[in-house]
């Protein structure tokens, strides 16, 4: 796995870079090529004296990985010597795939998951119309959706009509 040192420019607040770098070591339990910063799950990191507060936002309301992500974030900060760590969940602004950087999307594709193709400002994506999704294996645009719901809340199930392989598509929300 490629060592990821660049902080996702779409979410990084510009403050406490050393703390963001620590958070950036935590990978998503389901998609280990992306860190929780790449995904835009980490929204803010504050330091007051010796205590650290990390604000995270859930991808989906019922995402079962959120508890594990919160535990992993706490653990990594404690390993780095910060004893007093609070992980706070915030709901607003609601998480969106627009916070995923191009670099993160490329790593997702290499992992075999087709990255979100549109921004949510594109109404067609929201209405599920005329979406073209590229096969992450052979690059063909000749694909079709099997189901809007896949192996995890954030993915849909597609298949490639050329190489005949089914694949996961990271839904635009």
């Amino acid at each position: 796995m490629k060592k990821n040192i660049q902080l996702n420019p779409l979410v990084y607040t510009g403050k406490n870079p050393e703390l963001w770098a620590i958070a950036n070591e935590v990978v998503d339990p389901e998609i280990p090529v992306l860190t929780v910063v790449d995904l835009g799950i980490v929204r803010d990191i504050e330091k007051e004296g010796d205590s650290i507060t990390v604000s995270i936002t859930p991808t989906y309301s019922g995402c079962p990985a959120m508890d594990m992500i919160a535990t992993d974030i706490k653990k990594i900060f404690q390993q780095k010597g910060f004893a007093d760590v609070t992980v706070k969940t915030i709901l607003s602004p609601a998480w969106t795939t627009d916070w995923m950087s191009d670099d993160a999307k490329e790593r997702l594709r290499q992992f075999g998951i087709s990255p979100p193709e549109h921004t949510t400002a594109d109404k067609n994506a929201l209405l599920g119309k005329s979406k073209t999704v590229k096969c992450p294996r052979c690059g063909s645009m000749h694909t079709e959706m099997i189901s809007n719901f896949g192996s995890t809340a954030c993915k849909a199930l597609w298949k490639c009509l050329d190489c005949k392989e089914p694949f996961d598509y990271f839904k635009c929300i």
């Binding site: 859930p58 989906y60 019922g62 995402c63 607003s92 609601a94 969106t96 192996s151 199930l157 929300i173």
Partner: protein, 254 residues
């Protein structure tokens, strides 16, 4: 607790109970769907509702101010203390019923969340902004299935029409209000839920027409009572299953 806080608590619990009970009913389709992808879809939607219930119950605990956490509201209240809409607790004898309920409920939830995003209550607005994205997917799923079954074979059409007709008498209860809602509406905390009905009717009529299904009679008798804790016989069985472990081993942790 002030009157405003108790009105807010009542509304938040209504939403939380809707989410928990519908989530539970949807989870029953896991391994029982018509095919694997549908098992996964129904379980995914169930998970969204359970997640939303956790958000809403956690907030209810804060509004109530007695130190109760999310689990209290799910596991330690009795049947008549639940105020979920009657539609969410109904048993679904076949897949067409599950689709009809999803159509009725997702359309309602989508309309409500659209308005609730403007709430002056930050947590409710935040919740709605999050939930609307999930409801958009649920609604699309329900619309797709209504078209597929309604405009499918003779068998699927007949079953879908029966489900649409049989569940109709529980839809009015979705829009039920209680007296304490009025102040919340006035203060911009919640939308006027009853006012969502006409748009809901329009959206349902549009999908049913495209699915070659007949819209039930808008003036037919409607069963109500859920907002004051009066339920059908189905809720007790759900609560019994849901709360068995916490009742058998109170306070146990693992």
């Amino acid at each position: 607790m002030s009157n405003d806080q108790s009105a807010l608590l009542r509304f938040v619990l209504r939403l939380g109970d809707n989410s928990l009970i519908l989530g539970h009913r949807l989870s029953e389709w896991c391994s029982n769907g018509p095919f694997l992808e549908e098992d996964i879809a129904m379980s995914n939607i169930a998970l969204d509702y359970l997640g939303q219930a956790r958000i809403l119950y956690t907030y209810a605990g804060k509004v109530e101010g007695k130190g109760h956490e999310e689990d209290f509201f799910a596991y330690e209240r009795r049947e008549h203390e639940f105020t979920n809409s009657l539609l969410t607790e109904m048993k679904t004898p076949d897949f067409a019923f599950a689709v009809a309920r999803q159509l009725y409920y997702s359309t309602f939830a989508w309309l409500l969340a659209t308005e609730l995003q403007k709430s002056k209550d930050e947590t409710l607005a935040g919740y709605a902004g999050k939930a609307i994205k999930e409801f958009t997917y649920h609604l699309r799923h329900a619309n797709d299935w209504t078209l597929r079954l309604g405009d499918g074979t003779e068998e699927s059409h007949t079953r879908m029409q029966k489900a649409i007709d049989d569940l109709w008498m529980y839809t009015g209860d979705l829009f039920a209000t209680v007296e304490s809602d009025a102040e919340l509406v006035k203060n911009g905390i919640i939308p006027d839920v009853a006012a969502l009905k006409s748009k809901w009717n329009e959206m349902i009529a549009d999908v049913l027409e495209r699915a070659t299904l007949k819209m039930p009679d808008a003036n037919a008798w409607q069963m109500e009572g859920s907002r004051t804790g009066r339920h059908t016989e189905h809720l007790g069985y759900i609560i019994a299953e849901l709360q068995y472990v916490t009742r058998a081993y109170p306070g146990n942790k693992w």
